[in-house]
């Protein structure tokens, strides 16, 4: 047991040393726009609290609903979001995008707070509808000069990771205190949704 701990400490020490020695010089000769494109895409969903809250809420709701929603919702969201993104890229206007994003936080938050359990098709359709608004917002904001593929890759990975965060928190659902925690998270997301809706209207 003691040996195991010592070994873990040693491995942790070596990993820490390697992280400290991470070679930044490797970034010196990136092709123009490439890491910028990826990083901008990766950070884009994290730049707005409304996006973040809604995407974490998708994972939370999926975990609360259990299988098959726990995987069906995070599989549905990126693909439908990409269709919304495609509309944004092609310049097809969708009215009330920001309001739709705020509404997604409110609706998903309420669904988690009240533990609403619709049929899986209804849940997927609802999440898909909101995904279009989120995708449209991301799609139209490619920075000039950035690599399109890497920007898209970055924001798809960030979106999926936010769902994974939600699912991870949602795994506490198996305990009674965890269920309360999830409902509290849902309530917080709903309040954020209200805040963003009011901000959008004022």
């Amino acid at each position: 047991m003691n040996n195991g701990r010592q070994m873990i400490n040693r491995v942790a020490g070596v990993v820490f040393a390697m992280v400290l020695a991470w070679p930044y010089v490797a970034w010196a000769h990136e092709r123009a726009g490439e890491s910028g494109g990826f990083l901008v895409g990766l950070l884009h969903p994290l730049s707005g609290l409304d996006h973040m809250a809604a995407m974490v809420a998708v994972g939370l709701w999926g975990a609360q609903l259990g299988p098959p929603a726990i995987w069906a919702l995070p599989v549905t969201f990126p693909i439908v979001m990409a269709f919304g993104g495609a509309l944004g890229i092609r310049g097809v206007p969708i009215p009330g995008v920001e309001m739709g994003i705020a509404l997604s936080a409110l609706a998903l938050g309420i669904a988690i707070l009240w533990e609403i359990r619709p049929p899986i098709a209804v849940a997927a359709a609802l999440v898909g509808l909101f995904a279009i608004f989120h995708g449209h917002a991301h799609g139209g904001e490619l920075p000039p000069g950035a690599d399109r593929m890497l920007y898209s890759l970055g924001f798809v990975i960030a979106t999926g990771s936010l769902h994974a965060c939600g699912i991870s928190i949602g795994l506490f659902h198996r305990w009674s205190w965890g269920r309360m925690l999830l409902r509290a998270c849902g309530g917080s997301v709903a309040l954020l949704g209200v805040y963003f809706m009011v901000s959008g209207l004022v």
């Binding site: 010592q6 040693r10 020490g13 070596v14 040393a17 390697m18 400290l20 020695a21 991470w22 070679p23 010089v25 490797a26 010196a28 000769h29 092709r31 995987w71 995070p74 599989v75 549905t76 990126p78 693909i79 979001m81 990409a82 269709f83 993104g85 495609a86 509309l87 890229i89 092609r90 799609g139 399109r148 593929m149 890497l150 898209s152 890759l153 798809v156 990975i157 999926g160």
Partner: protein, 198 residues
């Protein structure tokens, strides 16, 4: 292993990581030799490696037989496509075809439906020819010869050997779901790239 040896090994690793990387900073212009230039071109370009990854994930989800089919079908198709791209005319639709590959293969991984083995073989051949052609054309631009094409095929072989074997070995249901989620991400990327390119 004694503590002194461990500390020594850690310091040695630390010292190696501090080795001056700037000496290798201009490999983009000098290359790393034709073989590795070919291999790295496939593996370092997101638009080349993601369709291959989707194909390998699909083969892994479909089981051992599909994995073997891709292992032996993909590298020759990559080599043939790369040779055609290296010495053939440039094809304007290669970019659009790569995007379609992302969409279709990513969608198939996300859906995780049963597929006939023949269809997996056709997908491996088609993917290999298209990705090979795109890479071969890039090798022509860089004026690299036949050895670079071997690098392209070897990179494909490595991907086809490792990824399906890894996916086949997954036993827990949630791990297969993680593979499907990765497929949905690739399909989403395909939709976005279609909007950029079409």
């Amino acid at each position: 292993m004694t503590r002194t040896r461990c500390i020594g090994a850690a310091l040695g690793a630390f010292g190696l990581l501090l080795w001056p990387g700037a000496a290798h900073a201009h490999l983009m212009s000098t290359g790393v030799g034709p073989f590795y230039d070919g291999a790295l071109h496939v593996l370092a370009s997101a638009d080349q490696v993601l369709p291959l990854l989707a194909l390998c994930l699909l083969a892994g989800l479909r089981g051992k037989a599909s994995g073997r089919a891709v292992l032996f079908g993909l590298p020759p198709a990559l080599l043939a496509g790369a040779a055609a791209g290296r010495w053939g005319p440039p094809l304007p639709f290669i970019g659009v075809a790569s995007t379609l590959l992302l969409l279709v293969l990513g969608g198939l991984v996300a859906a995780d439906r049963r597929l006939p083995l023949r269809l997996v073989i056709v997908a491996a051949a088609g993917c290999g020819l298209l990705i090979g052609y795109a890479n071969g054309a890039a090798m022509a631009e860089a004026r690299l010869g036949a050895v670079s094409l071997l690098g392209i095929a070897t990179a494909g072989f490595a991907a086809a050997a490792l990824v399906p074997a890894f996916v086949v070995s997954l036993r827990h249901a949630w791990m297969r779901i993680a593979v499907r989620v990765a497929g949905s991400w690739i399909a989403a990327l395909g939709v976005l790239m279609a909007a950029w390119t079409v």
